[in-house]
Structures are given as structure tokens and as C-alpha cells.
């Protein structure tokens, strides 16, 4: 059950992520199981300042040009695009319900009511979308909330560049599309300002957290393991399950983080975006940064 989702569940073949330091774009192959082309454009520091409330895009012209350059190389004739927003611009909340009304409008009203308590802004000024997953005894909704003024900034940037952002989602939720979630799996996604943590099991999100990252992408494996550790312990205590696998994204050297993460959990560690999921690369688009784009396209 979702709100504001695409009609008929289809998604565009193009995705573009606006991050604090660059714009990343990709196009999925016809089969939709890999990204055949991707590209990236660097942004000057301060061009994008991801925030939940304050204006995010400080230099509209530079961002428009970066979107045009990044998408221009991969878009072909397509103009519909999945817009991926920074995690710090969108609040993601997990909520448990015994049940939700069958009518989408009534269900959204219930979700909105629950969200009111956990937001630093008026919910009437925000756009909400949620994904309801059933399992066990109840129902769990993953809700994403973004302030309309912030959303409008990003959508306008895409429209000004000549693209139609028909799907908009935060980076971490987009990245989960690349993860295999059959077994207890920890997904860690690092970017310059935040660390996203998600624990998945049997195609369900069981835990979701966004932590502040004061060290940026220079964070060491041990430091990352320390940040992640409380969530792992909480998960193991709550569900009596051990993490089986860890996917890491956003770090140039996953290998460096792997021993520390493995020591804490005993799980195997791998990069979230596998080499087989990505094709030709143009510009400065390293695979470790492409989790949002790849996940959004192959999900």
C-alpha cells in the first residue's frame, strides 16, 4: 500500500541523484536488472546544502547545468526521471500498526496523524508517501516526509533542465532497491553528512535509522562499526536474529571497513553495488557512490 506512488507500479528508466557534492545519473538496461550507463557531475561546495527545513539548492543555475550534463549523456530521448534526494532532506519513519483502513485516503490520514508527533514542521506543508508491509502480527509502514518547499526546489531544478521527475525518493530508500533482503541483512550507506542504516529480512525493513556523520566519507572502518553497533545490538535483542550479511555503500574502500564490521557481527561484508550491476561509466561516477541510482533503477 503506498501513496503518491506511480500508477501501475512502473518507474522511468532514468534516475538522477542530487547529492551535496555531485549529481549522479544512470539509465537502466531494457531488462531492468542493471544500469547500462551512468555519469556524474561535480558540484562546488555549498551549491547544495541538504536540510529538512532550510532551502537546499543555493545555486540554481549550477545545479540545472549539472543535471543537464549528467542526464544528457545517458538520457537519450527519455525525459521521465526518478529524482533521488539527499537523505537529510527527507525524514523517514517506521511505524507499526495493527491495521490500516482499506481506503487510501483514510489510511494516509492515519499515517499523517502518527507522523505529526515526530516532525519539526507542520505536516500540512509536507508531502507524505508510505509503503505498507505486512508480516507477523501487524503491519509496518515506512513513511517518507518532505517539506513541500524543499521538494519544489528539487522538482523545479529537474523541470528547468527539461526533465520530468515523476518519481521522487530519498537516497537510502532508493539504495535498498539494490539489496537482496531474503536473509537478515544490514545495509550501511555513508555520505558526506549522514550514515543511513537499514536492517532487512524476508523482503521487509525491520529497522531504519539516519545518523549524523561528522567525519564525512573519510570515516574509518572502526568508526563506522562503532556507529552501526548500537543498531545491530538493538536488532539482535528485538528479533533474536543474527545479521547474516552486510552491504556497504558510499565508501571508496569498503575493504577497510569490512574487518571491523565483520568482527562485530560475524557477517560477510560486500559492496552494495556489484560490478555486474553497472555498465559504462562516464565522468567521475565511482561505483561506490551509485547506490541510490542503481537501487532506484533495478528495484
Amino acid at each position: 500500500m503506498t501513496t503518491g506512488s506511480t500508477k501501475f507500479g512502473a518507474r522511468p528508466a532514468l534516475a538522477c541523484e542530487i547529492a551535496a557534492d555531485r549529481v549522479l545519473a544512470g539509465r537502466s538496461a531494457d531488462a531492468g536488472r542493471m544500469v547500462e550507463m551512468c555519469s556524474a557531475q561535480e558540484l562546488a561546495p555549498g551549491t547544495v546544502v541538504p536540510d529538512l527545513i532550510e532551502p537546499n539548492l543555493r545555486d540554481g543555475t549550477a545545479i540545472r547545468q549539472a543535471i543537464e550534463s549528467a542526464l544528457g549523456g545517458v538520457s537519450g530521448r527519455s525525459r521521465d526521471v526518478i529524482a533521488i534526494l539527499p537523505d537529510t532532506a527527507v525524514r523517514v519513519v517506521l511505524m507499526d500498526f495493527e491495521t490500516l483502513p482499506s481506503k487510501p485516503e483514510e489510511a494516509e490520514a492515519v499515517v499523517r496523524f502518527r507522523l505529526k508527533k515526530s516532525l519539526p514542521f507542520n505536516l500540512d506543508d509536507a508531502r507524505v508517501s508510505y509503503h505498507a508491509q505486512t508480516g507477523g502480527t501487524g503491519l509496518r509502514a515506512i513513511a517518507a516526509v518532505v517539506l513541500k518547499s524543499v521538494l519544489q526546489e528539487y522538482e523545479s531544478a529537474f523541470r528547468d533542465a527539461g526533465y520530468n521527475p515523476g518519481v521522487v525518493m530519498p537516497s537510502m530508500l532508493a539504495a535498498l532497491g539494490a539489496a537482496d533482503a531474503e536473509k537478515p541483512t544490514l545495509v550501511v550507506k555513508v555520505d558526506a553528512r549522514s550514515i543511513g542504516i537499514a536492517i532487512l529480512d524476508q523482503e521487509q525493513v525491520l529497522l531504519f535509522r539516519t545518523l549524523e556523520n561528522v567525519r564525512g566519507i573519510t570515516i574509518s572502518g572502526e568508526q563506522l562499526a562503532e556507529e552501526v553497533y548500537p543498531s545491530v545490538v538493538f536488532f539482535q535483542d528485538t528479533y533474536n536474529l543474527n545479521i547474516d550479511r552486510i552491504y556497504v555503500a558510499g565508501l571508496p574502500e569498503t575493504v577497510g571497513a569490512a574487518p571491523a564490521l565483520k568482527a562485530q557481527t560475524g557477517a560477510t561484508v560486500a559492496e552494495l553495488v556489484a560490478a555486474s550491476q553497472i555498465g559504462a561509466v562516464t565522468g567521475s561516477a565511482p561505483r561506490w557512490r551509485m547506490a541510490g541510482v542503481v537501487g532506484a533503477l533495478i528495484a
Binding site: S5, T6, M169, A181
Partner: protein, 193 residues
């Protein structure tokens, strides 16, 4: 795993998937529309032929009307008037002589219900030179008169049978009715007997 989260103000709609889901229905509707259009065009073409035939017949009627008017004009001349009157008189006489009471009663006998009997019979030529029979009948009840009208409708010798008047019979024991119909004698018997 896939999460269907979409915060877009104007959500994406996939036209290809729309056609995949609704294409068969839309295709069938299109086909039905095409078939109905085909029938409509065929009907219009046929109606065109009928219109042409009607126009042709109307043209013929107009020609005949013109011919008749010219002939009547010719007959209306002083020199021809006596001939015309004489001709009309003779034609009426021939038609009256052509009326065969025997044949009429024979034909009536075939359609007359047993509960009914004829009280009076008056033959007259109407405006279109057709022989119109005005028939007074008496019966025990009204059903007999209605039955006669139905039988006359089924006979090739009587056309446009109508029950024009009904009431109690003079002795008050039954009903009397007046029935009007156009009498059509057999072609071979027009000469009369």
C-alpha cells in the same frame, strides 16, 4: 528489495503499462466502433440508393401529373366538354354494370361468421374510383361484428375494413353495426356477371 515510495508532486504514469493493461479492452472497443461505423456507412449508402429510387419515382409521378393536367386541360376545352361528360357518364355506367352482386355475396359468404347476418349493403364509388361497401350487420353480440372485420382484413377481396358504427338492434335483442370496406373483385370477374 523494492519500496514503492514516491514523493513526486506529479507522479509518473507509464503509458506502455497502461496500454498493456487496457489495450485489449480499448482495442475491442475500437473494433466495435469500426464495425458500427461500417454498418452506419453501409446504411447510409443503401439509403442513398433508396433516395435515388424515390427521387426517380417522384419524377415519374410529376411527369404523369403533368400529362394528366394537360389532358384535363384539353378535355376542359369547350369543344371537348360534351365528349368528356359523355365519357365520364359512360365510365361510371360501365363500372356500375361491372359490379356483381352475386360475386360480392359469394365473397362475403366466405368471411361472414355464422352468428351474423347482413341487414343492408350499399356499394358506392369513392373519390379514387374504388368500390366501397357500406354494410349493416346484426348479431347477438359485438364479438360477431369484430370477428367479421378481422376476417375481412385477412381476405384479398376486402381492404381497409372498419367498424364505423355500432349500437343496439332495432328489436333490442342484439347489436347492429356498420362496417365499411373497399371491395376488390377478382381481375377476371371485373366484367361482371
Amino acid at each position: 528489495m523494492r519500496l514503492d515510495i514516491n514523493l513526486a508532486t506529479r507522479p509518473y504514469e507509464d503509458a506502455r503499462e497502461f496500454w498493456a493493461r487496457w489495450g485489449i479492452g480499448v482495442g475491442l472497443l475500437g473494433l466495435l466502433t469500426a464495425v458500427l461505423l461500417g454498418f452506419a456507412v453501409l446504411g447510409w449508402v443503401k439509403a442513398g440508393r433508396d433516395r435515388q429510387a424515390i427521387q426517380h419515382l417522384q419524377q415519374q409521378i410529376a411527369d404523369r401529373d403533368r400529362e394528366r393536367a394537360a389532358a384535363e386541360q384539353l378535355l376542359a376545352l369547350d369543344a371537348n366538354r360534351s365528349t368528356r361528360d359523355q365519357s365520364q357518364f359512360l365510365n361510371e355506367l360501365i363500372q356500375r354494370k361491372a359490379f356483381s352482386w352475386t360475386r360480392v355475396f359469394e365473397d362475403l359468404e366466405k368471411v361472414m361468421p355464422s352468428s351474423l347476418h347482413v341487414v343492408a349493403l350499399k356499394p358506392e364509388l369513392n373519390d379514387q374510383n374504388q368500390l366501397e361497401l357500406e354494410m349493416k350487420v346484426a348479431a347477438d353480440n359485438r364479438a360477431g361484428a369484430v370477428d367479421l372485420v378481422h376476417r375481412m382484413e385477412g381476405s384479398k377481396h376486402f381492404q381497409g375494413a372498419q367498424l364505423v358504427q355500432e349500437g343496439s338492434s332495432e328489436n333490442g335483442a342484439g347489436v347492429s353495426a356498420t362496417i365499411v370496406a373497399v371491395y376488390v373483385p377478382d381481375a377476371g370477374n371485373r366484367s361482371g356477371k
